[in-house]
Every structure is written in C-alpha cells, then in structure tokens.
Amino acid sequence: MKGLRFLMVTKKIFWNFRHDKRSLALMLLAPILSMMVFGIAFSGDMEDVKVVIVNLDQGHQAPVFNQSVKISQSVISNMDRDVLDISYSSSIEDGLKGVEDGTYYSLIIFPENFTMNIMAYKSAMASENVTAIMGINEHSTVSIRSDQAEVSVVSEVNRLVMQAIAETMEQGGFDVPIDVDVSDPVYGDGATFIDMFIPGIMGFTIFLLTTTLSLITFVGERTQGTLYRLMATPITEGEIILGYALAFSILGMAQVALLIAIAVLVFDVMVVGNLLLTFLIGSMLGMVSVSLGILLSSLARRESQAIQFYPLIVMPTFLLAGIFWPLESIPAYLRPLSYGIPVTYAIKGLRSVMVRGWGVAEIWPQLLALTLFATAFLLGAVLTLKMERRRA
C-alpha cells in the first residue's frame, strides 16, 4: 500500500479527465483529427498534373513496310493519363513559356532524331557489328524541363515518363541497355506515402499533446499550491513523477491504439509488425514527453509563460524528427540535432515495426534510446522538484 502511493497521483489524473472532458478530447480526438487532416491531404493520388509535350521526332522510314514509325508516339500513349494532363505544343519556346507562366509543371521534349537513334542502335545491335555499335555516339534523349518548385510533382512526372519509355521499349522489343526493376521491394511492399508518414504523425502528436497537457497540468499544480500540499504529505517527489509518468504512458498507449485503428480502418494502412511493440513505443514516448513537460513547467511560473516554450519544442521536433521525410534528407550539420530529439527514435521505431515488421531484435537501438531519454528526463524532473524545495 505504502509503495503504491504514486498510484493515487495516476488515479487523480484520470479523475481529472472524467470532469474535464475537454482535455480528454484533446488527448484522444486531436491526434485523430490531425491524422485525418494529413491523411486526407496526402493520401489522394496525384492527378491533373498539367504537362506540355513538344514532339519534334521525325520518325523512321521502316524499310520493310514502307511505313513511318514514330517511337515517341508510343511513348506518349504509354504515359499515365490518370495523373498527367497532356497538352501539345509545336515549339519549344511556346512550351517553355507555358511552364514559366505556371500553366504547366513540365515541358517534355522529344528531339528530331528520337526514333532514328533508337533504330540505328537496334540495327547495329542486330548486326553484331562492333564498329557500328561503337560508332553510335548519339543517344535518344527526352528532355524534361520542369518547374522544380514542386519537387514531389516533378519527380512523379519524371517517374511516369521513364515508365512510359520502359514500357515502349519492351513492347517494341528494343534492348533497353539499363534495366531498373523496383517492383519487388525488400520492405514496405505496397507501401504508399501515407504508410510512411502515419508513424511520424503518431509520434509527433503523442509527443506534442502529452508535453502540452502535462506542462499545463503541472504549472497548475504549482500555481494552485497543490504541489506544496502534496510535498507536505508522505509522498515523495519520485512518486509524484512516477504517478504522472504512469498516467501519461497509459494515455500514450491508448493514443497509439486509437491512431492505428483509424489508420487501418480509414486509410487502409498496413501494419506488418507486432502491435504490442507499437504500444510499448507509445507508452515510452508518453513517459519521455510527460517528464519533459514537468521539466519545462519548473521554468514557467504561469500558464502563459509555458506557452512561450512552444515554438522551442514544437518547431525543431516537427522539422527534425523525421515525420514526413527521412533523416537522410536533413542537412548533415543539422542531423546531430535530430538524434537529440527523442521523438526521432519513437518515429523510427514505429515505422520499422509498422511498415517493415521489425521486432525487438532490430529496433532495440530505438528502444534503448527511448529508455535512456525517459530515464534521464524522469530523473531530471525529480531532481528539479527536489531542488525547488531547497531553493524556495
């Protein structure tokens, strides 16, 4: 009984939710809401991407059927119309103008000798004439000139053009010198962008909401004087923190469960790995976040001051924890900061379990990092409470 005093603090936090439905809603509905917003925004397939094609291809007079062949036409017909909205232009200048004034994302140019070069290559290969093969120094080049401001759109256009070329080459029985096959991934078969960022959103919202709520609650303990009252009872600083940590790690688990349910039911996200591991990560992140909230609360005398810490914790986490893009795309000089953010590990762990189906054997570095962060932050929180008693 005596050792379980901290449970009273945990219970108190849950009693609080019973009366303060708003906070409970914040903890449970806000993550869902944010996931819905991001999910709907990102899950839609790209469509109506306006591109303009300038086809200068002269074609090739086929010797046998005495017919003109334009391989560029096949390539264009193989382009995915679900995504690309294709217009044509007769001059490169007009096409460029269209990209410059924002009418089109990309200008795709087929040069005059597009078909010629391919045919020359093909016949040289067929003749097995080494000098003829060596003599070909002009390759067929499709130029894509894009508005690079929309990086993701552009890479999608590039991908679709390459895909159309590859298909055409295959249909025409041309030897495509380089063959890249990405159809059989090691992990994440069938994964889309949403599968990859949902763990990111989970980690971020759990962190943000737990830190916020515990910061506000604990500033309240100080301003209302209840912290002093607690300190004049047999409960120790460690037990107070433990009580808080337990409550918010339970909430962390609940948030993970809820978010995964939504992700699976609404967004059809696949979860390959062990759900229990995701709960574990959620609860550890809850613990890290609650102790960070308590640590920050010792710097704030009032709720309004607490708000001022917000940009300080939210922005770096949002940008550096790898929510939407992998750590590799973060500049190398900023990456050490990423490794100093606990959410980074939670997201990496969640992603590995959910998309890759990894187990403890693979994600132990993330679990270890989270354990270390949780221990350090919890001890830090206990220490600040003890120091405050000395200072006050």
């Binding site: 005596k2 005093r5 219970k11 108190k12 609080n16 209302q224 009872t233 000395r390």
Partner: protein, 244 residues
C-alpha cells in the same frame, strides 16, 4: 516531548529576512497562535517546519525529530494559506486522493471523510466540484483535508479566513476537542478574538518573535487590558525586544 522546538531558524529571500533567528517552543497538546502583520514571516515559518523550504541556518524539532533529518508527514496535518486543492476534482476525490496518499484503508477513510465533512459542515457537497464551491467553502474543505488522517500536530495557516462567524465558533470547538485528544495545533491568524482563545501566542515582526506567552501574560506585561492595545504597544516600541 514538545510539539515544536525552533532554534535560531533563519531564511532570507535575497535581501528580505523572512525569518530571522527564530526561537520558539510549543508544548504538545497546545493551541498556539502565530500573529503578526502581513509579511512578518508566519507562513515562511510554517513552511520551514514542514520542510517545504530549507532554512539558511538553524534547526527545529517537530514532534521531537529534527526537520533536517526528514519529516514524519504521516503525523502532520497542513492547511496552506491558499486553498491548494484540485479545483477540477470533486470534494470526495480531493479527500480520497489525500486519504490514499496517507495510506488510509477504504473503510477508515469513509468514516473519517464523513467526520471531517461534518466538522466543516459540508456533508451535502461531497460530490460537488471544488470549483463549484464558494471561497469560504473551499477553505473549509482545505481544513477537512488537513484533519483527515488524524494527525498528531496540525499547522493551520489562517484557517478561519472567509469563514462565517457561526462556523468559526464551531471550528474553535473542534480545535479544543483535538487539543483534548493531545493534538498540537499551530495556527496563524489576524483575528485577535481568536488569539485570545489560544493557550499561547507569539507576535512576529520582520521575521523576529517580538513577544510570546499566554494572552493574559502578554496583556499583563504590556500593562494593557486587551490584546489589541497590547499589540499596538508592542508594535510601536522602537527596536523589537525579544521576550522569552
């Protein structure tokens, strides 16, 4: 064993000497009243005795145990000057939280809960949220929490502020009942009619105790026939003289 023995206790906040070399003994089973103008160091003294703040120098015994060696909170009741309860919880939940922290078993707790709510005359509000109570009612719940675990010594920081006169009378009856059971009560107050009901009182000014004794003794020493005149006389005396 004395309830409290204070020896040369000092605590400064920057330049302000909130408690300045305090010496004081309160026998067990006494009702002791700590008086003094705003900012004279009454609350700071209580917080020092509860280990909520650490003294710069000096020490004190609470129930015979030095506060520097840790405090037996199980035996101590504390009613802070501010309400210091959870506004978003009900009266019952507030009591249950502290009962649980003091390790009370469910049965014992329910009995005591009824008892303390009777004392503060708020039995009917057990399931109200604290935030739905009036200021005086909240203050009364705060007293109920302090009494809940049947402590041996109780520190009450202005327990009767905002409490209506009939209830104040009943509070004093409770204090004297507790005293009869051997409970030591140390309270601060600004009301002189209450000071008169204490066994002993101490008058603080600028962190120092400038007078101490039974109300009768203080009136006699200052040659006055009421505490008001006695305090005015003591307060106007040039340098605070420490009476023992």
């Amino acid at each position: 064993m004395n309830g409290v023995e204070i020896r040369g206790l000092c605590k400064s906040y920057g330049k302000i000497k909130a408690v300045d070399g305090l010496d004081l003994t309160v026998g067990s089973g006494q009702v002791f009243g700590l008086l003094g103008p705003n900012g004279s160091g009454k609350t700071t003294t209580i917080k020092l005795l509860l280990g909520l703040i650490k003294p710069d120098s000096g020490d004190a015994l609470v129930l015979g145990r030095p506060i520097s060696k840790g405090i037996e909170f199980e035996k101590i009741g504390y009613m802070p000057q501010e309400t210091a309860l959870y506004e978003e919880l009900t009266v019952h939940e507030n009591l249950k939280l502290f009962g649980g922290i003091f390790g009370m078993k469910k049965r014992a707790f329910l009995g005591r809960e009824e008892e303390v709510l009777r004392i503060v005359d708020l039995k009917g509000r057990r399931d109200s949220l604290l935030s739905e109570l009036s200021g005086g009612q909240r203050h009364r719940i705060s007293l109920a929490v302090a009494l809940l675990h049947s402590p041996e010594i109780i520190f009450l920081d202005e327990p009767t502020v905002g409490v209506d006169p009939p209830l104040r009378v009943s509070f004093w009856k409770t204090f004297h009942d507790l005293k009869r059971k051997g409970v030591t009560i140390i309270m601060t107050t600004h009301y002189l009619d209450e000071a008169r009901k204490c066994d002993n009182i101490g008058l603080m000014r600028s962190g120092k105790l400038i007078s101490k004794g039974s109300p009768g003794r203080i009136m006699k020493d200052t040659g006055t026939d009421n505490l008001e005149d006695a305090f005015l006389k003591l307060a106007s005396a040039g340098s605070p003289e420490v009476l023992t």
